[in-house]
Protein backbone atom coordinates (compact mmCIF):
# COMPACT_ATOMS: atom_id res chain seq x y z
CA UNK A 1 0.00 0.00 0.00
CA UNK A 2 1.23 3.51 -0.72
CA UNK A 3 0.06 6.87 0.57
CA UNK A 4 -1.90 7.23 -2.66
CA UNK A 5 -4.19 4.46 -1.47
CA UNK A 6 -5.39 6.72 1.33
CA UNK A 7 -6.94 9.10 -1.16
CA UNK A 8 -10.59 9.32 -2.15
CA UNK A 9 -9.80 8.91 -5.83
CA UNK A 10 -13.40 9.73 -6.73
CA UNK A 11 -12.91 13.24 -5.40
CA UNK A 12 -9.76 14.09 -7.36
CA UNK A 13 -8.69 16.40 -8.83
CA UNK A 14 -9.11 18.52 -5.73
CA UNK A 15 -10.16 22.16 -5.66
CA UNK A 16 -6.72 23.51 -4.83
CA UNK A 17 -5.06 25.84 -7.29
CA UNK A 18 -2.18 24.78 -9.44
CA UNK A 19 0.99 24.77 -7.38
CA UNK A 20 -0.76 25.11 -4.04
CA UNK A 21 1.32 23.46 -1.33
CA UNK A 22 -1.67 21.89 0.32
CA UNK A 23 -1.52 18.90 -1.99
CA UNK A 24 2.11 18.27 -1.15
CA UNK A 25 1.49 18.50 2.58
CA UNK A 26 -1.43 16.11 2.23
CA UNK A 27 0.89 13.64 0.52
CA UNK A 28 3.55 13.88 3.19
CA UNK A 29 1.04 13.43 5.98
CA UNK A 30 -0.51 10.40 4.35
CA UNK A 31 2.93 8.97 3.73
CA UNK A 32 3.64 9.28 7.45
CA UNK A 33 0.35 7.70 8.43
CA UNK A 34 0.99 4.93 5.98
CA UNK A 35 4.51 4.41 7.28
CA UNK A 36 3.07 4.11 10.80
CA UNK A 37 0.86 1.35 9.50
CA UNK A 38 -2.32 2.97 10.76
CA UNK A 39 -5.61 1.38 9.85
CA UNK A 40 -7.69 3.71 7.68
CA UNK A 41 -10.82 2.34 9.33
CA UNK A 42 -9.55 3.48 12.72
CA UNK A 43 -8.19 6.84 11.68
CA UNK A 44 -10.06 10.12 11.66
CA UNK A 45 -9.00 13.33 9.97
CA UNK A 46 -10.49 16.52 11.32
CA UNK A 47 -10.29 20.07 10.00
CA UNK A 48 -11.88 23.49 10.19
CA UNK A 49 -12.68 25.73 7.24
CA UNK A 50 -10.26 27.05 4.66
CA UNK A 51 -8.46 25.71 1.60
CA UNK A 52 -6.20 23.69 3.88
CA UNK A 53 -9.16 22.38 5.80
CA UNK A 54 -10.50 20.73 2.69
CA UNK A 55 -7.78 18.10 3.03
CA UNK A 56 -9.77 15.51 5.02
CA UNK A 57 -12.36 15.48 2.27
CA UNK A 58 -9.82 13.85 -0.01
CA UNK A 59 -8.83 11.09 2.38
CA UNK A 60 -10.56 7.78 2.44
CA UNK A 61 -11.12 7.51 6.19
CA UNK A 62 -13.73 8.92 8.51
CA UNK A 63 -13.30 12.65 8.20
CA UNK A 64 -14.83 15.62 9.95
CA UNK A 65 -14.81 18.98 8.18
CA UNK A 66 -16.10 21.25 10.89
CA UNK A 67 -16.64 24.97 11.40
CA UNK A 68 -14.04 27.67 10.96
CA UNK A 69 -11.44 27.52 13.71
CA UNK A 70 -13.00 24.73 15.72
CA UNK A 71 -11.20 21.66 14.40
CA UNK A 72 -9.26 21.09 17.61
CA UNK A 73 -12.32 21.37 19.79
CA UNK A 74 -14.14 18.79 17.69
CA UNK A 75 -11.05 16.60 17.60
CA UNK A 76 -10.80 16.81 21.39
CA UNK A 77 -14.31 15.39 21.61
CA UNK A 78 -13.53 12.59 19.19
CA UNK A 79 -10.29 11.63 20.90
CA UNK A 80 -11.58 11.79 24.47
CA UNK A 81 -14.71 9.86 23.59
CA UNK A 82 -12.74 7.13 21.85
CA UNK A 83 -8.99 7.26 22.56
CA UNK A 84 -8.47 4.14 20.48
CA UNK A 85 -9.06 6.14 17.29
CA UNK A 86 -6.07 7.79 15.61
CA UNK A 87 -6.85 11.44 15.11
CA UNK A 88 -5.01 13.87 12.85
CA UNK A 89 -6.01 17.50 12.39
CA UNK A 90 -5.44 19.63 9.30
CA UNK A 91 -5.73 23.35 9.69
CA UNK A 92 -4.63 26.64 8.20
CA UNK A 93 -3.03 29.71 9.71
CA UNK A 94 -6.38 31.52 9.75
CA UNK A 95 -8.28 28.54 11.03
CA UNK A 96 -5.76 27.68 13.72
CA UNK A 97 -4.31 30.99 14.77
CA UNK A 98 -6.97 33.59 14.00
CA UNK A 99 -10.43 32.35 14.93
CA UNK A 100 -9.16 29.07 16.33
CA UNK A 101 -6.36 30.41 18.51
CA UNK A 102 -8.03 29.52 21.75
CA UNK A 103 -8.64 25.92 20.84
CA UNK A 104 -5.05 25.78 19.67
CA UNK A 105 -3.54 26.80 22.98
CA UNK A 106 -6.00 24.71 24.95
CA UNK A 107 -5.33 21.58 22.91
CA UNK A 108 -1.62 22.19 23.54
CA UNK A 109 -2.28 22.75 27.23
CA UNK A 110 -4.33 19.58 27.56
CA UNK A 111 -1.57 17.99 25.55
CA UNK A 112 -4.21 15.82 24.00
CA UNK A 113 -2.97 12.99 21.86
CA UNK A 114 -3.50 14.51 18.43
CA UNK A 115 -1.22 15.32 15.54
CA UNK A 116 -1.91 18.77 14.17
CA UNK A 117 -0.63 19.76 10.75
CA UNK A 118 -0.96 23.47 10.03
CA UNK A 119 -0.65 24.54 6.42
CA UNK A 120 0.60 28.02 7.07
CA UNK A 121 0.45 29.98 3.84
CA UNK A 122 0.53 33.35 5.65
CA UNK A 123 -2.85 34.28 4.23
CA UNK A 124 -6.54 33.43 4.08
CA UNK A 125 -6.61 31.49 0.85
CA UNK A 126 -10.22 30.38 0.74
CA UNK A 127 -11.75 33.80 1.07
CA UNK A 128 -9.45 35.37 -1.49
CA UNK A 129 -6.31 36.57 0.18
CA UNK A 130 -6.85 38.55 3.36
CA UNK A 131 -4.12 39.02 5.92
CA UNK A 132 -3.81 36.43 8.66
CA UNK A 133 -2.13 36.50 12.08
CA UNK A 134 0.97 35.06 10.44
CA UNK A 135 1.17 37.53 7.56
CA UNK A 136 4.59 39.18 7.90
CA UNK A 137 4.82 42.91 8.48
CA UNK A 138 4.85 44.68 5.16
CA UNK A 139 3.25 41.89 3.14
CA UNK A 140 0.36 42.78 0.86
CA UNK A 141 -3.08 41.25 1.06
CA UNK A 142 -6.58 42.45 0.28
CA UNK A 143 -7.01 43.67 3.86
CA UNK A 144 -3.48 45.01 4.17
CA UNK A 145 -3.41 46.98 0.94
CA UNK A 146 -0.67 49.22 2.26
CA UNK A 147 1.37 46.39 3.79
CA UNK A 148 0.61 44.43 6.96
CA UNK A 149 1.32 46.42 10.09
CA UNK A 150 0.42 44.00 12.86
CA UNK A 151 3.13 41.79 14.35
CA UNK A 152 2.79 38.14 13.36
CA UNK A 153 2.55 35.06 15.54
CA UNK A 154 5.36 32.58 15.94
CA UNK A 155 3.11 29.52 16.01
CA UNK A 156 5.87 27.25 17.16
CA UNK A 157 6.68 29.43 20.15
CA UNK A 158 3.01 29.52 21.08
CA UNK A 159 2.65 25.76 20.92
CA UNK A 160 5.72 25.28 23.08
CA UNK A 161 4.57 27.83 25.64
CA UNK A 162 1.11 26.35 25.73
CA UNK A 163 2.39 22.88 26.51
CA UNK A 164 2.54 20.64 23.42
CA UNK A 165 4.77 17.59 23.68
CA UNK A 166 6.15 17.75 20.16
CA UNK A 167 6.60 20.84 18.00
CA UNK A 168 8.28 21.15 14.64
CA UNK A 169 8.40 23.43 11.62
CA UNK A 170 9.15 22.61 7.99
CA UNK A 171 8.15 23.91 4.61
CA UNK A 172 6.32 22.29 1.73
CA UNK A 173 9.69 22.09 0.03
CA UNK A 174 11.02 19.70 2.66
CA UNK A 175 8.90 16.72 1.75
CA UNK A 176 11.00 14.03 3.38
CA UNK A 177 11.71 15.98 6.55
CA UNK A 178 8.05 16.83 6.79
CA UNK A 179 7.01 13.24 6.40
CA UNK A 180 9.40 12.28 9.15
CA UNK A 181 8.27 15.08 11.44
CA UNK A 182 4.66 14.03 11.04
CA UNK A 183 5.64 10.48 11.78
CA UNK A 184 7.37 11.58 14.97
CA UNK A 185 4.17 13.42 15.78
CA UNK A 186 2.09 10.33 15.29
CA UNK A 187 4.39 8.41 17.59
CA UNK A 188 4.56 11.01 20.35
CA UNK A 189 1.87 10.69 23.00
CA UNK A 190 0.31 14.07 23.63
CA UNK A 191 -0.13 16.91 21.23
CA UNK A 192 2.16 17.15 18.27
CA UNK A 193 2.14 20.38 16.31
CA UNK A 194 3.76 20.62 12.92
CA UNK A 195 3.76 23.98 11.24
CA UNK A 196 4.34 23.71 7.51
CA UNK A 197 5.11 26.84 5.58
CA UNK A 198 2.95 26.53 2.51
CA UNK A 199 2.79 28.38 -0.75
CA UNK A 200 -0.42 29.99 -1.93
CA UNK A 201 0.53 31.19 -5.39
CA UNK A 202 -2.96 32.49 -6.09
CA UNK A 203 -3.35 34.82 -3.19
CA UNK A 204 -0.19 35.28 -1.20
CA UNK A 205 2.12 34.72 -4.13
CA UNK A 206 0.33 36.97 -6.58
CA UNK A 207 0.49 39.96 -4.28
CA UNK A 208 3.94 39.37 -2.90
CA UNK A 209 6.00 38.53 -5.96
CA UNK A 210 5.88 34.81 -5.43
CA UNK A 211 3.41 34.13 -8.19
CA UNK A 212 5.46 31.42 -9.81
CA UNK A 213 5.27 28.11 -8.06
CA UNK A 214 8.89 27.46 -8.75
CA UNK A 215 9.81 30.80 -7.17
CA UNK A 216 7.98 29.70 -4.07
CA UNK A 217 9.91 26.45 -3.91
CA UNK A 218 13.10 28.38 -4.36
CA UNK A 219 12.05 30.79 -1.64
CA UNK A 220 11.46 27.99 0.83
CA UNK A 221 14.73 26.35 -0.07
CA UNK A 222 16.85 29.45 0.34
CA UNK A 223 15.16 31.10 3.31
CA UNK A 224 14.99 28.02 5.50
CA UNK A 225 17.54 27.72 8.26
CA UNK A 226 17.95 24.66 10.44
CA UNK A 227 17.13 25.27 14.06
CA UNK A 228 20.54 24.02 15.09
CA UNK A 229 22.19 26.64 12.94
CA UNK A 230 19.83 29.33 14.13
CA UNK A 231 20.55 28.48 17.75
CA UNK A 232 24.25 28.58 17.05
CA UNK A 233 24.06 31.99 15.42
CA UNK A 234 22.02 33.34 18.29
CA UNK A 235 24.36 31.87 20.87
CA UNK A 236 27.27 33.44 19.09
CA UNK A 237 25.45 36.71 18.92
CA UNK A 238 25.63 36.71 15.15
CA UNK A 239 22.89 38.21 13.02
CA UNK A 240 20.04 36.09 11.70
CA UNK A 241 18.26 37.25 8.55
CA UNK A 242 14.90 38.61 9.64
CA UNK A 243 13.09 36.58 7.01
CA UNK A 244 14.72 33.28 7.90
CA UNK A 245 12.34 30.37 8.25
CA UNK A 246 13.71 28.39 11.15
CA UNK A 247 12.97 24.74 10.51
CA UNK A 248 13.44 21.63 12.55
CA UNK A 249 12.19 20.14 15.78
CA UNK A 250 11.60 22.63 18.56
CA UNK A 251 10.49 20.43 21.37
CA UNK A 252 9.93 16.78 22.12
CA UNK A 253 9.03 15.91 25.66
CA UNK A 254 6.80 13.57 27.57
CA UNK A 255 4.70 15.73 29.81
CA UNK A 256 1.40 14.30 31.04
CA UNK A 257 -1.02 13.98 28.14
CA UNK A 258 -4.75 13.43 27.69
CA UNK A 259 -6.60 11.06 25.40
CA UNK A 260 -3.82 8.49 25.39
CA UNK A 261 -5.05 4.89 25.38
CA UNK A 262 -4.55 3.78 28.97
Amino acid sequence: MSFADWLRADRLPHIWCSGCSNGTILNCTLAAVEAEGWDPDRTVFVSGIGCSSRAPGYISTDSLHTTHGRALAFATGVKLADPSLNVVVFTGDGDLAAIGGNHFIHACRRNIDLTVVCMNNLIYGMTGGQGSPTTPIGALSTTTPYGASEPAFDLVALAVAAGANHVARWTAYHVRELERAVQTGLETPGLSFIEVRAGCPTNYGRKNRLREVTDLAEYFRTKSMLKAKFDRLVAEGRPVPSDAIVVGEFVRRSNPAMGVVP
Binding site: S2, F3, A4, P13, S18, T24, L26, V175, R176, V213
Partner: protein, 90 residues
Protein backbone atom coordinates in the same frame (compact mmCIF):
# COMPACT_ATOMS: atom_id res chain seq x y z
CA UNK B 1 7.29 0.14 -13.57
CA UNK B 2 6.29 2.99 -15.75
CA UNK B 3 6.03 6.58 -14.63
CA UNK B 4 2.75 8.27 -15.62
CA UNK B 5 1.18 11.65 -15.10
CA UNK B 6 -2.57 11.61 -14.73
CA UNK B 7 -3.69 14.32 -17.16
CA UNK B 8 -6.99 14.63 -15.44
CA UNK B 9 -5.27 15.62 -12.20
CA UNK B 10 -2.16 17.50 -13.27
CA UNK B 11 -2.54 21.25 -13.12
CA UNK B 12 0.80 22.06 -14.68
CA UNK B 13 2.58 23.61 -11.71
CA UNK B 14 5.94 22.26 -12.83
CA UNK B 15 7.10 21.40 -9.33
CA UNK B 16 8.04 17.97 -10.62
CA UNK B 17 10.42 19.59 -13.08
CA UNK B 18 12.18 21.13 -10.13
CA UNK B 19 12.56 18.21 -7.78
CA UNK B 20 13.54 15.20 -9.86
CA UNK B 21 17.26 14.55 -9.51
CA UNK B 22 17.24 13.06 -13.00
CA UNK B 23 15.35 15.95 -14.55
CA UNK B 24 12.89 13.55 -16.03
CA UNK B 25 10.09 16.11 -16.13
CA UNK B 26 10.21 18.97 -18.63
CA UNK B 27 7.75 21.82 -18.71
CA UNK B 28 4.92 20.99 -21.05
CA UNK B 29 4.29 23.01 -24.18
CA UNK B 30 0.90 21.99 -25.48
CA UNK B 31 -2.27 22.84 -23.54
CA UNK B 32 -4.50 19.87 -22.98
CA UNK B 33 -8.28 20.08 -23.15
CA UNK B 34 -8.41 21.71 -19.74
CA UNK B 35 -5.89 24.29 -20.81
CA UNK B 36 -3.14 22.68 -18.72
CA UNK B 37 0.45 22.39 -19.92
CA UNK B 38 1.21 18.94 -18.53
CA UNK B 39 4.96 18.29 -18.24
CA UNK B 40 6.58 15.99 -20.69
CA UNK B 41 8.70 13.05 -19.60
CA UNK B 42 12.27 12.79 -20.73
CA UNK B 43 13.37 9.16 -20.73
CA UNK B 44 11.41 8.20 -17.62
CA UNK B 45 13.01 4.80 -17.59
CA UNK B 46 15.93 6.54 -15.89
CA UNK B 47 13.85 7.06 -12.77
CA UNK B 48 15.17 5.16 -9.77
CA UNK B 49 11.77 4.02 -8.88
CA UNK B 50 10.93 2.82 -12.35
CA UNK B 51 14.04 0.76 -12.28
CA UNK B 52 14.14 -0.60 -8.78
CA UNK B 53 10.64 -0.59 -7.33
CA UNK B 54 10.05 -4.10 -8.57
CA UNK B 55 13.30 -5.23 -7.08
CA UNK B 56 12.86 -3.69 -3.63
CA UNK B 57 9.12 -4.07 -3.44
CA UNK B 58 8.61 -0.49 -2.27
CA UNK B 59 8.68 3.03 -3.60
CA UNK B 60 12.18 4.40 -3.97
CA UNK B 61 12.99 8.07 -4.32
CA UNK B 62 9.37 9.05 -5.03
CA UNK B 63 10.15 12.68 -4.36
CA UNK B 64 8.20 13.80 -7.39
CA UNK B 65 5.15 11.85 -6.27
CA UNK B 66 5.37 13.16 -2.72
CA UNK B 67 5.81 16.69 -4.02
CA UNK B 68 3.19 16.70 -6.74
CA UNK B 69 0.43 18.76 -5.16
CA UNK B 70 -2.15 17.25 -7.45
CA UNK B 71 -1.51 13.57 -6.82
CA UNK B 72 -0.94 13.27 -10.54
CA UNK B 73 2.24 11.21 -10.52
CA UNK B 74 2.22 7.47 -10.22
CA UNK B 75 3.61 4.28 -11.58
CA UNK B 76 1.86 1.56 -13.46
CA UNK B 77 3.09 -1.95 -13.77
CA UNK B 78 4.68 -2.82 -17.11
CA UNK B 79 4.84 -6.45 -18.02
CA UNK B 80 7.21 -7.40 -19.42
CA UNK B 81 9.67 -4.73 -18.48
CA UNK B 82 10.74 -2.96 -21.66
CA UNK B 83 13.75 -0.80 -20.94
CA UNK B 84 14.19 0.35 -24.53
CA UNK B 85 10.73 1.66 -25.18
CA UNK B 86 10.22 5.35 -24.49
CA UNK B 87 6.75 6.31 -23.40
CA UNK B 88 5.86 9.95 -23.15
CA UNK B 89 2.69 10.36 -21.17
CA UNK B 90 1.14 13.78 -20.71
Amino acid sequence: MKLVIDENRCKGCNLCTLVCPYRIFRPGTRANRKGVLVPELDRPERCTNCRLQGLYGRTLCGVCQLTCPDQAIGWVRERPYEPAKIEVEY
